[in-house]
């Protein structure tokens, strides 16, 4: 925010301050991207160091995901998990390091430009249009597309059958798990190559969580890379091809999900034994 403030003015008949936008794109105007050669992972945030303007939050943090893989970022509260993901999506100023997608350096791109490049992002909260119907939510997800979206919508309905039944209902009236399905479905509508999920299972019951993870595996099987921040570390690592344990904005452990689950150090410190 700027130095201007409301000075305590809460008069809703003067201004509308509910649900204020909070996104702070590192690059409101998109900069150039350039090809740096193939090879290496499909998406990588390489040696990212930066923060929201004040002190650095990330320190030489590297996150990567390969095609059709599921990569999971876990770690204690305040470890910078969500921050690392936001950095990959261009919502955090990184002064050192780079982000590369499919061999192209996209560090200077705005978040919207990254959407156009095939990245989908599902925020942790406020990730649906509550006053719009489920179908309208999906349509808005596909806003950048000018071609026929009915087939993609059909795929989303096949993935989340409950959404088909509820498609004429305002998304705000759905349960927590269903809302998350709408949120993921919306992001899938652009036909992204990478799907980034910020704590998709936050606030849903264990049964719904298992169901969501199953769906996420299904999405990955279609060739979409998944990068996910998770609070439920154990369950997430079970489905992860690759796991990152972050502590204070630094990579602490990086391995396959299985190896991390088997590592006594990791188990003791981060998975509760």
């Amino acid at each position: 925010m700027s130095d201007y403030s409301d000075r305590g003015n809460k008069d809703a008949s003067i201004t509308r301050t509910d649900n204020m936008p909070t996104l702070t794109p590192a690059h409101p105007e998109s900069g150039p991207s350039h090809y740096v050669g193939s090879g290496g992972p499909f998406l990588i945030g390489d040696g990212m160091t930066g923060g929201y303007g004040g002190a650095d939050i990330l320190h030489d943090c590297t996150i990567s995901v390969d095609k059709g893989e599921i990569a999971v970022i876990v770690g204690p509260n305040g470890a910078g998990k969500s921050t690392a993901m936001k950095a990959v999506f261009g919502m955090l100023n990184i002064h050192t390091g780079s982000v590369r997608l499919n061999g192209e350096d996209i560090t200077a791109l705005s978040p919207q430009a990254r959407v156009n490049k095939g990245m989908g992002f599902v925020p942790q909260t406020n990730n649906i249009f509550t006053s719009m119907t489920v179908e309208e939510n999906l349509e808005m997800g596909a806003f950048i597309r000018r071609d026929d979206i009915s087939q993609t919508m059909e795929q989303v309905y096949e993935l989340f059958p409950i959404l088909r039944d509820k498609r004429r209902q305002p998304a705000g009236e759905l349960s927590g798990g269903q809302r998350q399905q709408v949120a993921v479905g919306r992001a899938l509508m652009t036909q992204p190559q990478v799907l980034m999920l910020d704590e998709p299972t936050a606030g849903v019951s264990p049964i719904v969580m298992d169901e969501l993870f199953d769906r996420i595996i299904e999405v990955a099987r279609t060739g979409i890379s998944i990068l996910m921040v998770e609070q439920n570390a154990r369950q997430a690592l079970e489905i992860a091809d690759k796991g990152y344990v972050l502590v204070q904005g630094r990579n602490r452990y990086t391995d396959t999900g299985k190896a991390l689950l088997a590592d006594p150090e990791v188990r003791k410190s981060f998975l509760g034994g």
């Binding site: 201007y4 409301d6 000075r7 809703a12 003067i14 201004t15 509308r16 301050t17 249009f129 349509e139």
Partner: protein, 336 residues
């Protein structure tokens, strides 16, 4: 006891004028509510924007009249309306580029926009006075009545006359068309849906690739269309005087807030609630009561709750009651 005459008098002096006035307020309130829902501030420049837009229509009407072009029985102003809307839309977009966009880039608090709109209001007001002056202007032409009081009396043989003016008929029909078009646009078109999405969740709209600057531009164009239509209809129905339009700001805001700011349906309901209250509270009911009660009970006074000069007090009182009892308005506003 004379129900028929009472009914005709009620129609003539209350229902028809209030419905026309309500339509004008509803169109004005829709503009205010759209800006509130999408740009997040109360646009105090709306009244003077209406005055300026109507001025464009009047100047164009005079030009058309001078060129000998008329719209038959309908007012020539209707022909001038699209030109007035286009000019006003350009002006609103230019204002947005010059003033509001700066604050958007600064991510200024919404209250800053309110104060900026106050400045814009003064500029619009000065422009209007500079170009057309502060006086009353007449620009209505065409057939004056759809049904005149005398024709009605002759046709029905009733003592009471019923006058239905062309301007009132046009106001009601235009309002219905405009509102239907607006709702169709917001609910069925891609651009309209993107405006609702932007109003609902700005961050997610951005992540979905919706261009905020485009949403803002389309909003100003629609608001210009609503404001100029409302202003022209009001000018045809009553009279054009820039200061009156500034004063309209109060009933317009009252309408939008009563219905629920940010909710288009609420703006329409609010417009009619305010208009009916204003007309009914300031109308002298003596005539209608005299028709309805036995002769001996006929009232001596005017049976008028408030003098017409106090009509703005009605909006104020309703506004205060709503803010105290149900601040979100009847339709729970804050989303387009």
């Amino acid at each position: 006891m004379d129900f028929l005459n009472a009914l005709v008098a009620l129609l003539n002096f209350v229902i028809i004028p209030a419905t026309a006035y309500g339509s004008q307020l509803a169109l004005g309130a829709l503009g205010v509510t759209l800006i509130y829902g999408i740009l997040r501030f109360s646009n105090f420049a709306h009244g003077d924007g209406m005055a300026l837009g109507t001025m464009f229509v009047i100047l164009t009407t005079w030009g058309l009249q001078a060129a000998g072009i008329s719209f038959g029985p309908l007012p020539t102003a209707l022909l001038a309306l699209p030109i007035g809307i286009a000019l006003t839309a350009l002006l609103f977009i230019a204002t947005d580029r010059a003033v509001y966009r700066f604050y958007r880039r600064q991510k200024a608090a919404p209250v800053i926009f309110v104060i900026a709109s106050l400045g814009v209001m003064f500029v619009y007001n000065a422009l209007t006075r500079f170009i057309i002056g502060p006086d009353d202007q007449r620009f209505a032409d065409g057939e004056r009545f759809i049904i005149s009081a005398r024709d009605f009396r002759e046709a029905t043989g009733l003592a009471e006359g019923l006058a239905f003016r062309t301007s009132q008929g046009i106001t009601i029909v235009t309002a219905i068309i405009v509102v239907a078009a607006l709702f169709w646009f917001l609910n069925k078109t891609r651009t309209g849906k993107s405006m609702r999405a932007f109003s609902d969740n700005e961050d997610l709209a951005l992540l979905s690739g919706i261009n905020p600057e485009r949403v803002v531009m389309v909003t100003w164009i629609i608001v210009a269309a609503l404001a100029v239509t409302a202003g022209t209809l009001y000018g045809l129905d009553k009279s054009y005087r820039p200061f009156t339009y500034f004063q309209l700001l109060l009933p317009i805001f009252a309408s939008a807030i009563v219905g629920g700011l940010g909710n288009p349906l609420g703006a329409i309901a609010g417009g009619f609630i305010i208009a009916y209250s204003e007309v009914m509270v300031t109308y002298a009911w003596k005539k209608i009561v005299t028709y309805l009660v036995p002769e001996t009970m006929a009232p001596e006074g005017l049976v008028q709750l408030l003098g017409t000069e106090y009509k703005f007090a009605v909006s104020f009182v309703i506004l205060i009651i709503v803010l105290l009892v149900r601040p979100t308005g009847i339709f729970r506003g804050k989303a387009v």
